[in-house]
Amino acid sequence: MKKTYGIEVDCAACANKMEAAARKVDGVKDCVVNFMTQKMAVEFQDGADRSAVMENVRKSCKRVESDCEIFI
């Protein structure tokens, strides 16, 4: 299950950090952040509760980059 979310992030290095942080969240199989299109494509593990996982993704991302936003 793959889904793409809009994000807001100011710098490219921060986008890379968000990607690394999101990949470590439970229930996320893979994650790719594209700074240029301001999009985050998340591949979920089978049976993961998407909205719960995304809440955690947002929390992790905020921890590494306080200015970022994910539009869930």
Binding site: K2, A12, N16, V32, N34, Q38, V64
Partner: protein, 624 residues
Amino acid sequence: MNKKQRMMLIRIIAAFIMMVALAFLPVSGPLAFVLYLLPYLTVGYDILLKAIKGIIRGQVFDECFLMATATVGAIALALYEGTSDYTEAIAVMLFYQIGELFQSYAVGKSRRSITELMDIRPDYANVERDGTLVKVDPDDIEVGSIIVVQPGEKVPIDGIVVSGSSSLNTSALTGESLPRSVEEGDEVISGSINMTSVLRIRTEKEFGESTVSKILDLVENASSRKSKSEDFISKFARVYTPAVCIGALLLALLPPLLSIALGNDPGWESWVYRALTFLVISCPCALVISIPLSFFAGIGGASREGILVKGSNYLETLSKTRIVVFDKTGTLTKGSFEVEGIHHSTMENEMLVEYAALAESSSSHPISRSLQKAYGKEIDRSRVSGVEEISGNGVIAKVDGRSVACGNDKLMRHIGVEPIPCHSAGTIIHVAIDGSYAGHIVISDIVKDDAADAIRALRKAGVERIVMLTGDREKVARSVASSLGIDEVYSELLPSGKVDKVESLLRDKSGSARLAFVGDGINDAPVLSRSDIGIAMGALGSDAAIEAADVVLMDDDPMKIATAIRISRKCLRIVYQNIVFAIGIKALCLLLGALGLADMWLAIFADVGVMVIAVLNAIRALRI
């Protein structure tokens, strides 16, 4: 410029004016410190705040942290030495913010120019209700509804014109600038813009299944595939910053301690200053921003030409293409067959075509359609009866009470007629009437006008090997290939044979060379996905091709393949330039900094200047 950027610009200008004014004021001591703090905080307060937040969260190698440490360090050093020279710290912060502002402006601008390019999403569809036009969400339109498209509006859903005639601008879809004229009964593709007069269209698909939605899906999902260069850079950035920071720490501590051990003057100030210079250079921004920006611009530039690349990894592969394999039909040839000659006819040529067209009239095969086209009149089905199809060989039917057999030489022998062999290249349809040979019709696929130019352009673009695969007969294949200047041909292949052939070509090729397969998207999905890079042409309206291919050419112009390769080469050249330039300058400045030859002014150039140049270079990829 958005609000955030304007605010930043005001802060930068204010800080700059304050800094210049302070340079002329005869202040010193604690007063100078307090006064200089004003421009410093004006321009850098958010960086300091973020740095503190970062430390609390354990994000030490955050760029804000680096900038904060470097500038606070420089101020502390000036205080300690009593020089009251705070301009350096302020300048570093100022230039850093100018760099950030420029970056966000440039990125925002190129993002907008590319999204505008792909601005083909229709927002509404017009439906007639009780005599008036109502705007509705295209998602709510059911298949078979009648929608109205006025001049200047986008066609929201694929369909067929039921009334009206107009010109359509398809340039956003295909890059083709000539308008297409459509009239009643013609198919129209969503995303094209109606130019001259009102069209009423019966929808053939749902909005989600329409061409425009498919293309937007493709473009949006292109973001989820990253190239090797991008991966390299994000890995590099992860290692680079910590490494330089540790380097800075060592630079600040080791040489002075060594001096103390040797009984010399430690010279703390000088070494700490060099370490702070290190920190300014340690920010990986130039690299991290310029590489994805180059790819983004390259993909954007390509889509302006009607070439959709599904991800930056494919752009990278495309640039390494050395072998191009064509599936003949639909790529080099038009894929529509035409009657080319009629030989040995025992009756008038028109008669022979008429019999053949009637006998084949129940078949939807391209060959039967080409016969009907050559006949040119309405087919009267009542003249045909008792159609018997002999799979792969032809048809036997009764036309006007006479038994007509149409097909290849096997069919002729099957009914006991000896066919006269033909020397022309093409598909030969032998016709026998009432058991005796009546002549044959030569049908061939027409080579596209610019196919030969396209092959030449490919060779010029650095493609070493061009191979043509076809299911057609050897003779046809040879004649097409020689007219186009292709020297390697494999003919009479079944679809599975094409996969085998591509696999063996993949095995034989040398290390870094990549193989591209070009197909028309019909029946060649397995080969498209098996090759290093699959290119589907004329994909408008073919969903399967859009799914299976890595690069989609919106129209069926074979010249676009060479264009795509050229774009990818240019893009990759820019990527490598940026990598080498940015890493090179930074390494040089690190070295000079360690030796004490570079001050912070040079360091901030290494950071901001390199980034500005790399970003400007990246944007070049947008122009073809």
